[in-house]
Symmetry: C2
Subunit: 339 residues, 2 copies
């Protein structure tokens, strides 16, 4: 099939860029030194590519992602790198993933107790290393580990996400080292052999973790592309549906329902994007000679890969103008009762 | 079922607020004077509530919405209020909606020709009335109508959307009247008896259209709520998963994958929302005495209803803390081959 045969809007994955990104990351973080984060791509088919490259342990952000990965036979070592306090959800997840190895992050008495009550067996203590989000106070990590062990849970170690240091920040190497020193100190008190953390934005600076939680490197965000060698592998295919030369704009059939705007508008080379509405992007060419015609196809780069993928049902894998595969985005939503 | 039994994140529709909004709008725009826009709620179950209130003609933004509405038996009079130039998509839509009445917007030679080639029978000429998006130049409307009639299409009239005047703008009444004067003049040249346009933000000012294309009034955006009497009927149910009193923040399990940020962060009464990440919202209470506990439930108001609904699989209809129904969000995506 040819890209021209696809209805729009559609997401395209550049097979060669994806393969290059997987190879670049795998050369530094081989095998289980990398724990790819499935929230970035939400596709078990893409996860299988990573297994083929030697990475068979994964991170998830939701119980539904955990269940979907296990149901696809990708449950060798799944980490729910997030806090869940709803015991029914956790118990349903445990029941739906029998035969898989599950580890769950905990950062409070409540999340420890919920994990134990739901039949979870293994946990990591999530330690706050500076990002204002989840994670216990470093001084509380040992106490939580003790509480978890007292409840019969195996404590595999710690995790901590330096999410505030992923972008182009000053003194990045020093600040990553400081954040990871907090995590290493907590691990010394907690015990276990896992130190999980990091991400695409610190892949070359984080020297502390035993496993890197990177996901965006696969399809690659525009922001991360400024600070890493990974290549943009995701584009949004659009059709020009209206052209108003007198007014000075044209309209494509992608909008805020097909590309997430939380990191800004999508980028269209050679054009300025004016704004997105539900199903439209209004834009103008940089040069008078570059006006598109109604029916022309365009490839835009989404501002933020992770939530854009979550807006779509499928990823079309392409090499140039040829569609070589179509992968379902099968890890969407939050319904933990599905497999 | 009780709201406390729902896993989170979840979308809640306040049944009484929805009913009040439907009654308020229907009192001014009864029956087919209103053409509700399904893009706002993407649910055939909610559309059925509008049919019960007397409105059985609908607007859609995508061919997939058209097909879904027809498959649900809601095809009495469906308008694709958007331009589509892909003949295969249009032909699939026509083939999948036999027995329904379909009208399609056109604003160029290419969209007229595509509609005719695909077997569409009825069109509206989409006229630009000031919003930099779709719609032909007003002076071109009569020529396009003639081209359409020459291709065997029935021209029902015109549509024009004053989307740039929906919010709290200066001299709103005068500017709406000016935009609609453009549309009325085009209709006089085009012929037909339909003048379709308007929206929730101009429901009380637009005196020109024969049918109002409003959708957001059903569930109600925070922005529109400032300029209309409609009540917010959509909330996002969340669970507090982490509390860091020393740091000064707490974290709920809703994020930019469950609430669209294109109109800003969700609103949580009595709290300041700091930021959203994929599956988290970091926030802080306004008062020291209002700290939540891990496991507490919260109801947030999304910034923008339309794209937030599109992120979810179901709407839970509630009255207070009781869940009285669950409606699938069955008009998501762009796959026109489904029914």
């Amino acid at each position: 099939m040819h890209v021209a045969d696809l209805p729009t809007p559609a997401l395209l994955v550049d097979a060669d860029a994806l393969a290059a990104n997987v190879a670049t990351m795998g050369a530094t973080w081989p095998g289980r030194a990398l724990r790819p984060h499935v929230k970035a791509f939400k596709s078990t088919a893409l996860a299988r590519e990573l297994v083929a490259a030697g990475h068979d342990a994964f991170c998830c952000a939701t119980p539904a992602e955990m269940v979907g990965m296990a149901a696809a036979g990708l449950g060798a070592d799944l980490l729910l790198a997030n806090e869940v306090v709803d015991r029914r959800v956790l118990a349903t997840m445990v029941g739906a993933t029998l035969g898989s190895r599950l580890t769950v992050a905990v950062d409070s008495d409540e999340t420890v107790d919920a994990a134990a009550a739901a039949g979870v067996r293994e946990v990591l203590v999530d330690v706050n290393v500076g990002l204002p989000r989840c994670g216990c106070a470093p001084a509380d990590a040992a106490r939580l580990a003790e509480r978890a062990r007292g409840a019969g849970l195996e404590v595999r170690g710690v995790m901590g996400y330096e999410g505030h240091l992923m972008g182009d920040v000053d003194a990045k190497a020093e600040r990553v080292a400081e954040a990871m020193a907090i995590l290493a100190a907590a691990q010394a008190e907690v015990g276990g052999d896992v130190v999980s953390g990091g991400g695409t934005g610190t892949w070359d600076l984080n020297r502390t973790v035993t496993e890197l939680q990177a996901g965006s490197y696969t399809l690659m965000d525009a922001d991360y592309a400024k600070v890493t060698p990974f290549r943009p592998a995701l584009h949004l295919l659009a059709t020009v549906v209206s052209v108003n030369r007198a007014g000075g704009w044209a309209v494509a059939d992608v909008g805020l329902k097909s590309t997430s705007l939380d990191h800004g508008n999508p980028v269209l080379d050679g054009h300025r994007v004016w704004f997105c509405s539900d199903e439209h992007t209004t834009f103008a060419p940089d040069r008078e000679t570059a006006w598109p015609a109604v029916g022309d196809r365009l490839r835009l780069q989404p501002g933020h890969v992770d939530p854009t993928v979550a807006l779509h049902e499928v990823l079309h894998v392409v090499r140039g103008d040829e569609v070589i595969d179509t992968w379902p985005v099968d890890l969407r939503g939050w319904d933990v009762r599905r497999g």
